[in-house]
Amino acid sequence: MNHSLIETREVSKHYRMGATTVVALDRVSVAVGQGEFVALLGTSGSGKSTLLNLIGGLDHPSEGEVIFDGRSLAPFTKREMARYRRHSVGMIFQNFNLITTMTAAENVELALAFGGLTGRERETRAGELLERVGLGERARHRPSELSGGEQQRVAIARALANRPRVLLADEPTGNLDSTRARELLSLLREMVAGDKLTVLLVTHDRDLAAQFADRTIQMRDGKVETMNAER
């Protein structure tokens, strides 16, 4: 791993809850290379989601720094951070986080709109993305009219809308049965393979991680427990 796309250096995150301080992350240093598919394993509260949010630019570390493509995110302004989220990373979540009042296409187009695309170009691109996740027919449906698997595919289309270099997936299969979960991860793999996208998958399912990830990082109590080698 000569060149890592994402690197965390001694990253810590503390939350103040009343009088006590909760340490969500404790000096975590990980590195993920370009095009790698890495699974972050751990139980609930192990800090894996927190780490993902830091890498995704949704949160700031209390200590340490996140390096993306050789640049530290620490000095970024709010605006630069928004740009980073918009163009460099795409995120999907366990509860899909689609906007329920918008159709599948509108959800994807919203991301494209923040990316600066307009009009026909935007519609075409949204259509293509939904086509790629197999939802060309269902573009005009609202999330409530779609199954969980379908909703997560819309989320993938939206995450990839602005051609990010990293896809951050936070328990994307948590709300899906095992068959749907496998289908979804297959799709994810397939989609990132062509573009040499880096994927960071947060899951608590060892089997899934073993099946789809190039390597896994095991976390516990805010610390990296084991980092197993590439298969």
Binding site: L58, K78, N95, L110, G115, G116, N162
Partner: protein, 525 residues
């Protein structure tokens, strides 16, 4: 994100919460319609009041007075304090003269109002016309009656409003025409039943006969003239005080009830005949107590003849006091041979009330005295400004209340959309864009409320106006009056104000929305 997308998002959000947005907008509608209808009422009052004055030519006329003949004489005789303002050239005193005198800022005019001076004044920018004031107190014979009357000289054509409305006939056709217009009081005094009866009839101005050389008149004439002048002095006040009161106006005069055609004395009178071509509607109400009535800055007469004819008459039949002043002036050399004395006063009509102060300043620079009521116009405007501000404030309070509604709606909306905002941030929305969405939403509420409110105000005005006409004006036989003024700046301003207030109301909610922590928001269900 481009603005059209923001706009679309904002519209979508409003549609999603239709009822809430609708109710919030209703608050704005009430506020805006209150402001607009109240202020349109105030502005309507103002417009109607100003229009009333304008109709009477009070805001576009300046009285200008020059150095009088007697003033010339007294200054030549070394008496600077005497005489000024005590007399007009016709020996007549008007209220304006007193007003001038009472004003310490006014000095003794340096120049005489000669024809040349009038031409110079007429050439000033903003001056529409200059009408010298000549009015003669003379016996007028018409319809077999002879009465002492004020006869005014009228500029032809004439822009003054007093020559606008006729009961019958028209204005004098040209300055050279031997035509006259009269007013309603003339009809009554001279026994014409209807205005139409007078049109086409003739009236005569009477003067001592054989007065070809008035300045060198014989003893008999001079005596007559002296008596005439004295009577005139007594009678003219009466005539001025109440022109309708015929008995008073010619009491004790030998010509009363005389039948001029049969009277041998009549043959000793010179007369100039004018054909009556128009009867003016007398619109002046509540004229000054005990003084002559004015329309604009001009004293009102019941008979008008063309200015050149009036001037010729005045020069020819000078009364004795004026005659003395004239001869003194000539003798002292103040007035050169061949020079005439000029007018005591003229009315300068301006093109627009706004240019009036400038014209007045120029008149002072040129060495004339002037008087206008433009200051009163300013005062009137101040009064209405205060009234309109008070009305606007009342309306503004309701819009303020509506703005609380907007803020409330926006905050509610944030609570509801926390997750949505988190999602937008996660996929790359900038704080600025989040804020903008909220501002646009609030602005749209303000805009829709503003437009609907302005329309509602327009409807309120229309209904109120009709009700007022139906139940107040009509039963009293008053013609329709539009009580409201709804100028574009009012409703456009109100709409803009509503939008501005709405955006202000969204300041806090928008800032709060932008501060939402995406990590927490995305966990939010």
């Amino acid at each position: 994100m481009k603005f059209p997308d923001i706009l679309r998002l904002a519209l979508r959000n409003l549609r999603e919460a239709r009822l809430r947005a609708g109710l919030t907008t209703l608050g704005v509608i009430v506020g805006v319609s209150m402001i607009v209808s109240m202020m349109s009422f105030g502005l309507g009052l103002q417009r109607n009041a100003v229009q009333r004055f304008r109709d009477l030519d009070l805001f576009n006329e300046i009285t200008v007075s020059g150095r009088s003949l007697v003033g010339l004489v007294s200054s030549a005789m070394g008496d600077r304090s005497g005489g000024e303002g005590r007399e007009g050239r016709e020996g007549r005193r008007g209220r304006r003269g007193q007003a001038d005198e009472n004003d310490p800022a006014r000095k003794v005019p340096e120049r005489m109002l000669t024809e040349a001076a009038l031409a110079e004044i007429a050439g000033l920018p903003g001056v529409a016309s200059v009408e010298p004031n000549i009015d003669l107190t003379t016996y007028v014979r018409a319809n077999k009656r002879a009465l002492l009357r004020q006869v005014g000289g009228a500029l032809v054509p004439n822009g003054a409003t007093r020559f606008k409305t006729y009961l019958a006939g028209r204005m004098i056709s040209s300055p050279e025409a031997d035509e006259a217009v009269v007013d309603e009081s003339f009809l009554r005094s001279f026994g014409f039943e209807r205005p139409q009866d007078a049109v086409g009839q003739t009236l005569e101005l009477l003067a001592p006969g054989g007065a070809d050389e008035p300045k060198a008149g014989g003893g008999e004439e001079a005596g007559k003239k002296g008596a005439g002048a004295k009577d005139e002095a007594n009678a003219k006040d009466e005539a001025g005080r109440d022109e309708d009161d015929d008995e008073l106006s010619f009491f004790g005069l030998p010509l009363e009830e005389a039948s001029p055609e049969d009277d041998p004395a009549a043959s000793a009178l010179a007369a100039r005949t004018f054909r009556i071509v128009g009867v003016l509607k007398t619109e002046v109400e509540g004229g000054a107590q005990g003084g002559r009535q004015f329309r604009g800055m001009m004293p009102v007469s019941s008979i008008y003849i063309p200015l050149p004819a009036a001037r010729a008459w005045a020069d020819r039949y000078r009364n004795s006091i004026s005659e003395v002043a004239f001869r003194l002036a000539r003798a002292s050399g103040v007035l050169k041979e061949g020079e005439t004395a000029g007018y005591a006063m003229a009315v300068v009509r301006v093109t627009d009330p706004d240019v009036l102060p400038g014209v007045q300043t120029r008149l002072h620079e040129l060495g004339f005295n002037s008087f206008s009521i433009v200051d009163q116009l300013k005062e009137l405007r101040t009064v209405f400004l205060i009234l309109n501000s008070a009305l606007g404030l009342l309306g503004g309070i309701s819009l303020l209340v509506a703005s609380f509604g907007i803020a409330n709606t926006m905050i509610m909306s944030i609570l509801e959309r926390t997750r949505e905002i988190g999602i937008m941030k996660a996929i790359g929305a900038e704080d600025r864009e989040i804020k903008l969405i909220f501002f646009v939403e609030a602005g749209l509420i303000g805009l829709m409320g503003g437009v609907a409110g302005a329309l509602a105000a327009w409807a309120i005005d229309a209904v109120a106006n009709r009700l007022a006409y139906r139940f107040i004006l009509q039963p009293r036989g008053v013609s329709y009056v539009d009580f409201f003024a709804l100028p574009p700046y009012l409703w456009l301003g109100a709409i803009l104000f509503a939008v501005a207030i709405s955006i202000l109301a969204a300041l806090y909610p928008a800032a709060r929305a932008a501060r939402i922590d995406p990590v927490k928001a995305l966990r939010h269900d």
